[in-house]
Structures are given as structure tokens and as C-alpha cells.
């Protein structure tokens, strides 16, 4: 549904550009925003309305990821200054709720940018993900973190 | 301190030292994966170097080279992985 809405939005933006006759990037963005507003006003169908909530969610998701990445890197900076004595690496099996390939991939990328983690592989039946972690004090804590922090947010956007 | 000078005296030397550090890892190995990841890192650093050069010489076209570097770094990583797996299977 969101796809067709997005398409509608796009077509309207193009029509805007054609109508105004100015083929510039700014104009296109402007047209997109205008049509977004129009669509927001005229759409009643509940299913279709998801399109309008997903955008803010997406933005907040990106901001979240950005923060995570910065955090990750700061940790890494810290890490690189320590000796190895503080390391407690482990390869942890994390069960997956997400199903499709794309979802799994996005999740994996997200996990990868968290502090001290590295996705080793996904099992062939797509049920678990093996993650190499730099610091594991409690295995289950880590698994929960992955599931709550990343998987949930991901599912929110995609479902 | 001008931007150019700042880049010349701070950024580039730091990048240079990073290159050396990574290169030491490259020389030390010991496994092929180590060397590959070092090479990967070298390429990433060189992307930074390119970016810095494009600023100091005011040449935005260098950025495309950076893009190409990133792309190829990915190819080589996958290729090594491919190789390692194949070698193991043999």
C-alpha cells in the first residue's frame, strides 16, 4: 500500500514540475512536498494512511541509527586505547523474528554498526543469526538488546 | 591557520600515521584475512585522503574516484572471501 501511495506522490510531483515548467531539483522537492500534503488531506483509508506515519518514523529511525553509529565509534575509540585485558569476546547465537531476506539484511547491517559486534552468518533456515561480540558479560542481555533495540524498530517500519 | 595549512599539518599526518599502522598489520598478517582487512582499511583511508586532496586542490572530481575505490574495495573483499572459501573446500 505504501508503495502505491509513494507512487501517487511521485506522479503528482512530476505533474507539478511539468506544470510549472522548471526542471530543477528544488522545484521537484517542492512539488513532492506539496503533493504529500494534498495526499495527506484527501486520504481516508486507514491502510493507506500508514504512508504518512511511516515517514516520521523513518526519520526518527535514521536519527537513531546515526546516534548508534556515533556511539559505536566512540566505544571503538575507547577500545583501541585499552589493552586486550578488558575484552570478553564471544560468538552468540541470536534467534530471528524477521523473515524476509531484506529484513534480515537490514537487521544485520544495523547490528553490525552497534558497538563491538560483527555479524558472522545467518543460518541456512534463516532462524538464527550468529554474532561476534567484543564484550559479553551476559549472553541473554545481548540477545535481548538486539531484539528490542533493532529488530522491533525495524519491524515497526516494515510491517 | 588556514584550512589548507590545517589539513597539511594535522589531518594528512594523522592519516599518514594511520596508513603506517594499518600497513604494519598488513605486513604482520598473520592470516590472509588479516591482510585483506588491512588492505580494506587502507582503501578506506585512501578514500579519506582523496577527500582531503579534493579539498586542498579544490577538485571535486576526485570524489568519484573515492566512490570507485569504495566499490572496488567491496569487490576485493568479497573476492577474497570467495577465494578463502574455495580454498578451504578444496
Amino acid at each position: 500500500m505504501t508503495k502505491s501511495m509513494f507512487l501517487n506522490n511521485l506522479i503528482l510531483a512530476i505533474i507539478w514540475v511539468m506544470a510549472t515548467g522548471t526542471l530543477a531539483e528544488e522545484n521537484f522537492i517542492f512539488g513532492f512536498l506539496i503533493s504529500f500534503g494534498i495526499l495527506y488531506v484527501i486520504t481516508i483509508n486507514k491502510q493507506d494512511r500508514k504512508y504518512f506515519t511511516i515517514l516520521p518514523k523513518l526519520v526518527s529511525f535514521f536519527l537513531f541509527m546515526f546516534w548508534e553509529i556515533i556511539k559505536t565509534n566512540l566505544v571503538t575509540v575507547k577500545e583501541s586505547l585499552y589493552a586486550k585485558s578488558k575484552l570478553k569476546p564471544a560468538v552468540v547465537k541470536v534467534p530471528l523474528t524477521v523473515e524476509s531476506d531484506l529484513e534480515i539484511t537490514i537487521l544485520a547491517i544495523m547490528v553490525s554498526v552497534t558497538p563491538g559486534t560483527l555479524v558472522m552468518d545467518i543460518s541456512d533456515d534463516k532462524k538464527v543469526m550468529y554474532v561476534h561480540v567484543m564484550h559479553v558479560s551476559n549472553k541473554q542481555d545481548f540477545i535481548d538488546e538486539v531484539k528490542n533495540k533493532f529488530e522491533k524498530r525495524l519491524l515497526e517500519i516494515l510491517k | 591557520m588556514s584550512l589548507q595549512e590545517y589539513f597539511h599539518f594535522i589531518i594528512i599526518p594523522l592519516l599518514g600515521i594511520s596508513v603506517i599502522l594499518v600497513f604494519i598489520r598488513f605486513v604482520k598478517g598473520p592470516s590472509l584475512a588479516d591482510r585483506v582487512i588491512a588492505l580494506d582499511m587502507l582503501i578506506l583511508i585512501s578514500i579519506c585522503i582523496i577527500a582531503v586532496y579534493s579539498i586542498t586542490f579544490n577538485q571535486s572530481t576526485f570524489l568519484d574516484i573515492a566512490m570507485l575505490f569504495a566499490l572496488i574495495a567491496f569487490l576485493s573483499t568479497t573476492a577474497y572471501a570467495f577465494y578463502l572459501e574455495k580454498r578451504e573446500r578444496k
Binding site: T76, L81, A90, V113, G116, M120 | A33, L44, F74
Partner: protein
Amino acid sequence: MRDILIMISSTIGVLFIFSTSLAMLRKPDVYLRISVTSKASTLGVGLILLATAIFFNEYSVTTRVIAVILFVFLTVPIGSHMLARAAYFTKTPIWGGTKIDDLAGQYDPETHKLHSEKRNTSVRPEKTDKPS
């Protein structure tokens, strides 16, 4: 003002790069090194590219910078994953400090199939205490 932004952004970026390089040298096994590289570098590269985008302040440059950053963010984790996986297959030694290894014995040595339930195949790297 723009110059300051550029300086800050690039400095942080370079520091990330530098620390990653240092970490690469110091981490005891290959998995840890891969792990380190796949993160700091991404942000380092991203920030420095950001500095460039600010410097040129041009639409086309900005789009290209965004493209590069996106690309790096997409490929580096995947690449690291593949390298780590391959290293594991080839039984590249894992640091002795690695307490838990759920992956050990999970790969089928012939088909490279990865199982989700507990197995006990021969695919498990030996542990080493000597940092390399």
C-alpha cells in the same frame, strides 16, 4: 564558520580512522580486527566526506558525497561479515579469551550449510593465546 565546521568534522573523522588503525594493530585476533574496522572507518570516512561536502557546498558534490557514504555504509558491514565468515571456515585461530562460541561445529564442512540447532562438526577454529 564553514571552515570551522569542516575542521571539526574532518578532525573527528580522522580521529576515528586513527583509532581504528591503532585498534587494528592491537586486537588479538582477526575477528576482533574485522569487527573494529567495519565500524570506526565507516563513520570516519563519513565525516571526512561530510567535510568535503561542506567545503564545496555544491548540489552535485553533496549528492555524490551522500552516495559514497551510503555505499560505504552498505558495503562495509557486508564485506566484514563475509570476511569473518570465510576466516572462520578456514579455521583462522580465534583468541583464547573468546569464552562462548555458539558457531563452533555449526557449519557443515562439505556443503557449508549453517545449522541453527546444535551440531558438532569439525568446523571450529583453534584458540590461540598468542596475540598476533
